[in-house]
């Protein structure tokens, strides 16, 4: 194993990437799922191994093909990428482990090998973005993950998944192409594609027009991919009509990977070189973040479909993440990164709970779920735990990141007070929309006309329930033992902010 240690950054991508084609040769039922889960678990193990290395102060650099940067393609794993790698591989593994029964009911057996193959490709693509240190390589792996995610979302049983995924495809492609234009313009002025090399060489040409326009294109393109308000319109439907396991996987990590690229590109390449860029970054993103929090939460208040409600809540949560980053202080950025981790925990657990509910209820409107908690108490208890974490109640992971966020905002003086008010209002709205679910499920009288006339609804399958509770308890665990994510987030924030002038 020690011999392979140096190869971990490459293996992180290559393992799921190369197992994906093998899957479509596996015809017997269930084998494709087992192989996909095993591959995902291996990817998780690799991510854990690298996280341990990163916590020891190691930084993984890997020269593919033996060609050193900037001539070859370089991979780089530092604390920022390690944090996101943990989220991505962990979410994929948990969603696969819990999702077998749910996916079996949604995808016909003969189509399953193709579906799981696409799943691994999505995982490999996301991992590929996170380990890449080369602007064009990020584009290639972004396309692998995007194309695979279109396939996954289109696997949803409802036909409304198809228009949703078409919109996702168009906006995703526009976003990726904007990014490509931006990279092209930067390349034109610097002659390099390696991010670290760009950082050095962009300095001389920083005030020239193509670079400014490139910064704009890259930011807008990645904001599209990350569903930053007001470019979020593809997200609610895509998450709502995707297969439930896919919603759990993507809600936890997909947009965060785009945010990762946005932050990394902006902080490393642009902010220290472009005059006044950091103020512009804050000035543009902070209002958007505030609007995202208020708008996303407000729409979630009135949504009656459980999955759409959670999807709009995701729009709001992306706002919190951006808000932290736009403060441009070590406290703010680390709170933002910490919130990426904690929101992944909370939202992942919530969507796992939705998946468990969906195994027993065919419709996820709140009025159909009336009284459901009495029949599925374990599932709904886990949902409440994750919901508390989403709100940010003390003792849960969500509290920790919001606490740091508030602390960082308060350093900003008067403006900070206003931001704290926004965070508080957003959290109060979260209380209301989570309460609406709780009220419908626990307090409303059981709906006799729902698809459960005989009251025969039982708990979700035991395996699914076990994973769901694992995820819910992780929210509590990381609410008390905050060491690991906080250490990674702080180290990443220090390194990102270290690039500022």
């Amino acid at each position: 194993m020690t011999g392979l240690n140096a190869h971990l950054p490459a293996l992180q991508v290559v393992v799921p990437l190369l197992i994906a084609p093998l899957l479509i040769l596996l015809r017997p039922r269930g084998l494709a799922w087992a192989a996909a889960t095993a591959a995902s678990a291996m990817a998780f193990a690799i991510a854990v191994q690298m996280t341990v290395g990163v916590l020891d102060g190691q930084e993984y650099r890997y020269a593919l093909g033996g060609w050193s940067a900037p001539y070859g393609i370089e991979l780089l794993v530092d604390s920022f990428s390690a944090l996101l790698l943990l989220i991505v591989t962990g979410a994929s593994t948990l969603a696969l482990l819990a999702g077998k029964a749910s996916l079996d009911s949604e995808i016909e057996p003969r189509r399953q090998p193709l579906f799981y193959s696409a799943w691994l490709l999505a995982l490999a693509g996301l991992a590929g973005i996170l380990v890449a240190a080369d602007a064009f390589n990020i584009f290639v792996f972004m396309e692998i993950s995007s194309l695979a995610s279109y396939v996954l979302v289109a696997g949803g049983p409802d036909r409304r998944a198809l228009p949703a995924v078409f919109k996702y495809l168009l906006m995703g492609t526009i976003g990726a192409t904007f990014y490509l234009i931006g990279v092209g313009l930067v390349y034109m002025m610097t002659g390099t594609l390696n991010l670290a090399d760009m950082e050095l060489r962009i300095h001389e040409v920083a005030d020239q027009k193509p670079i400014l326009v490139a910064a704009g294109f890259i930011t807008v393109g990645l904001a599209l991919k990350a569903a930053v308000f007001p470019l979020h319109v593809w997200l609610p439907n895509a998450y709502t009509y995707a297969p439930h396991a896919v919603s759990a996987f993507f809600a936890a990590c997909a947009t965060k990977v785009a945010l990762y690229v946005l932050l990394r590109f902006d902080f490393v390449v642009f902010q220290q070189n472009l005059t006044g860029h950091e103020e512009q970054f804050a000035a543009y993103l902070m209002p958007l973040a505030v609007l995202a929090i208020l708008f996303g939460s407000a729409v979630a208040l009135f949504e009656s479909n459980l999955k759409r409600l959670l999807a709009y809540s995701s729009v709001a949560q992306i706002g919190y993440i951006l808000l932290g980053a736009s403060l441009l202080s070590i406290g703010g950025v680390s709170a933002s990164l910490l919130h990426m981790f904690n929101h992944a925990l909370a939202k992942g657990a919530l969507f796992l709970a939705v998946m468990a509910i969906a195994t027993r209820y065919s419709q996820l409107d709140l009025q159909h779920l009336a009284g459901a908690a009495k029949r599925m108490p374990w599932t709904f208890s886990a949902l409440v735990v994750a919901g508390l974490s989403l709100i940010g109640v003390p003792g849960t992971a969500g509290f920790i990141s919001k606490w740091y966020l508030v602390a960082a905002a308060l350093e900003e003086g008067v403006l900070g007070m206003a931001l704290v008010a926004v965070i508080v209002v957003g959290s109060l709205m979260a209380v209301v929309y989570i309460w609406r679910i709780v009220e419908a499920a626990w307090f409303a009288p059981a709906d006799k006309s729902a698809d459960d006339p005989g009251g025969s609804v039982r708990e979700a399958p035991a395996a699914m329930l076990a994973i769901l509770w694992l995820a819910a308890l992780a929210n509590v665990y990381f609410g008390i033992a905050t060491g690991l994510p906080r250490e990674l987030a702080t180290a990443a924030a220090i390194s990102l902010m270290g690039h500022l002038p």
Binding site: V140, E143, P163, F166, I174, Y187, M188
Partner: protein, 118 residues
């Protein structure tokens, strides 16, 4: 030469925006995908334009050439990859459009929204 260079960039801009307009303004799904194709092709032109060196030749190093001047191979490599990505996206998009036609009986975005609202 100066004007020719600017002309290349302007054509890139016009093509880019023509494709972009088709994507945002057209209602038909297939037409939107055609717009995406145009949009991507424009970016290919941007990259290839920057790889050109006046008086150069294609970057194929043959012995016996006196003081050769080659165009830049790197943008060409990138665009080879990007062309592949483009056709892949198009193929997948067409697959989705065909499925939408089967499920909804139309490929006009407005009509799909109407059907869903019912």
């Amino acid at each position: 030469m100066e004007l020719l260079g600017l002309y290349h960039y302007w054509v890139f801009v016009v093509l880019l925006m023509t494709g972009f307009y088709a994507v945002v303004a057209k209602v038909n799904l297939i037409k939107k995908l055609i717009g995406v194709s145009l949009f991507q092709s424009a970016v290919f032109l941007l990259y290839i334009t920057m790889s050109k060196v006046s008086g150069g030749t294609a970057p194929i190093v043959l012995p016996g050439m006196v003081d050769p001047l080659y165009s830049n191979p790197l943008p060409q490599v990138l665009i080879l990859t990007a062309i592949v990505v483009g056709i892949s996206t198009t193929a997948l998009g067409l697959g989705i459009a065909v499925r939408i036609k089967e499920e909804y009986g139309t490929t006009e975005e407005h009509e799909i929204q109407e059907i869903d609202r019912r």
